[in-house]
Amino acid sequence: MDILNELVAWFSDPAQWSGSAGIPARLGEHVYYSLLGLLISAVIAVPIGLFTGHTGVGGFLTASLANFARALPTIGVLFLIVLAAGIGLVPVVAALVALAVPPILVNTHEGVRAVEPRLRDAALGMGMRGREVLFKLELPVATPLILIGMRTAAVQVVATATIAAYVGVGGLGRYIVDGQARQDLTMMLGGSLLVVALAVATTLLFAGLRRVLVAPGLRAESAVAR
């Protein structure tokens, strides 16, 4: 288990934990790209999903978009956008947004569509109108599904941001790319483990968000459904 010892040595080297190529700096870059991509995606996808879900317009289109996006090879999308727009933060984030929008959009749409008609009837019966139904009933009920879509997107964004190092920006992928260039297996594996840790932390974060954001009455029910 040579490789394990080398990995331990790699992680415990103090030089690894400071400077612009250190783990904290790389982790910071990675989180920054991912967060930026995810936030922009959410700002685009959630309102559109709420609109299409609420009005029922474009349901077929969102389903087709999701199927299509599932088949798209992420590295192809990333490389094509970077090739067309040049190396830099903006093309990378644009590629991340392109990958993160479909799952969020579809889950938001489906979440709103899945609200039971009798709940909607009850809301109308209580005197709520269009916008109130959307924000006081449909949005809270759809929140668990929206969060799942966000989590799906977030894990994918964290993974794809790794590949962004191949197009010359920072982040944890640098360890993998530089390790490959130097034939340094330990560095590649160390970088991979950091990406795994970040992805798992992202999943846990969404489990936590679910506890905070989903109304208590809905939590038990959706736990059964899952």
């Binding site: 599932r70 790794t162 993998i176």
Partner: protein, 276 residues
């Protein structure tokens, strides 16, 4: 990009599409050089993807049987598979390198593990939805447990399992491309080596289009397979048959499920989506 008038823009896009198509046709294959061109990459892509899916299925069915039989097994297995799915594929490919080197297994082992997160719940749900009276009828007419499994329970589960296979195969086919970063990856190689490293857009576009086409064709083949394997679900006028089949499909097919349901691979698996 936004030309003065729409005509110029359309002409530019058309010329670009023609140029990309020309490149694809010209580089499809090289006689005498079996390892060069697009066709060998496509074959490699199919080999990696289909082997991963088949191995995933070969593991998911017995594992699913065990989980359906012994209820206590299912939750821990499902949790394990879900945790694994949170691991980005690119990281898993690199972590496999010390053990499998540059062989196909570096791609196939992680990809088959990812398919489990979709296939396993579908196998278990499929087996669990066999109605109790059907099972009891099989016992009553003297079927042994094995015969009951093969001739009664598995056929009932087939539509659900195929629904899972459809999602898993589309996800796997698109994820194979990522393996190009460790020197495998079929069409991903085309995208990375011929396209990106040479700053040339045609191979990237051809690669993307072929991956999407392969995914859709595979999906269509699975739909046909389901049609052939489950003749009893086709509505043929008998009361009940078609209606029940529809109800079953509606209840379980992940295709219609929200992106988070057990049908959402890279785009949307129910558990943490495996990233690419």
């Amino acid at each position: 990009m936004i030309a003065a008038d729409g005509g110029n823009w359309a002409v530019g896009a058309w010329e670009w599409a023609v140029r990309v198509t020309d490149w694809g046709v010209a580089n499809w294959s090289y006689p005498g050089e079996p390892n060069r061109g697009i066709w060998p990459r496509l074959l490699e892509h199919m080999r990696l993807a289909y082997l991963s899916i088949l191995i995933g299925l070969a593991v998911a069915v017995p594992l699913g049987l065990a989980c359906a039989r012994w209820r206590g097994v299912y939750p821990p297995v499902l949790t394990g598979v879900n945790v694994l799915y949170a691991v980005p594929s690119i990281a898993l490919f690199f972590l496999m390198l010390p053990y499998t080197g540059f062989s196909d297994w570096t791609a196939i082992i992680p990809l088959s593990l990812y398919t489990l997160v979709i296939l396993l719940p579908n196998v278990v749900d499929g087996l669990r939805q066999v109605p109790d009276h059907v099972r009891q009828a099989a016992v009553a007419i003297g079927y042994s447990p094995l015969r009951r499994l093969v001739t009664v329970e598995m056929p009932v589960a087939v539509p659900v399992i195929i629904a899972g296979l459809r999602v898993a195969s589309v996800a796997t086919i698109s994820m194979v491309s990522v393996a190009s970063l460790v020197g495998l990856g079929g069409l991903g190689q085309l995208i990375l080596s011929d396209g990106f490293r040479r700053q040339f857009d045609a191979p990237i576009v051809v690669g993307i289009v072929l991956v999407v086409l392969l995914a859709f064709v595979t999906d269509a083949l699975l739909v046909i397979a389901q049609y052939l394997l489950t003749p009893w679900t086709r509505g043929n006028g008998r009361p009940g048959g078609g209606r029940r089949a529809r109800a079953r499909r509606g209840a379980t097919a992940p295709t219609g499920a929200p992106a988070g349901a057990p049908g959402a691979a890279p785009a949307n698996p129910s558990p943490a989506t495996a990233g690419e």
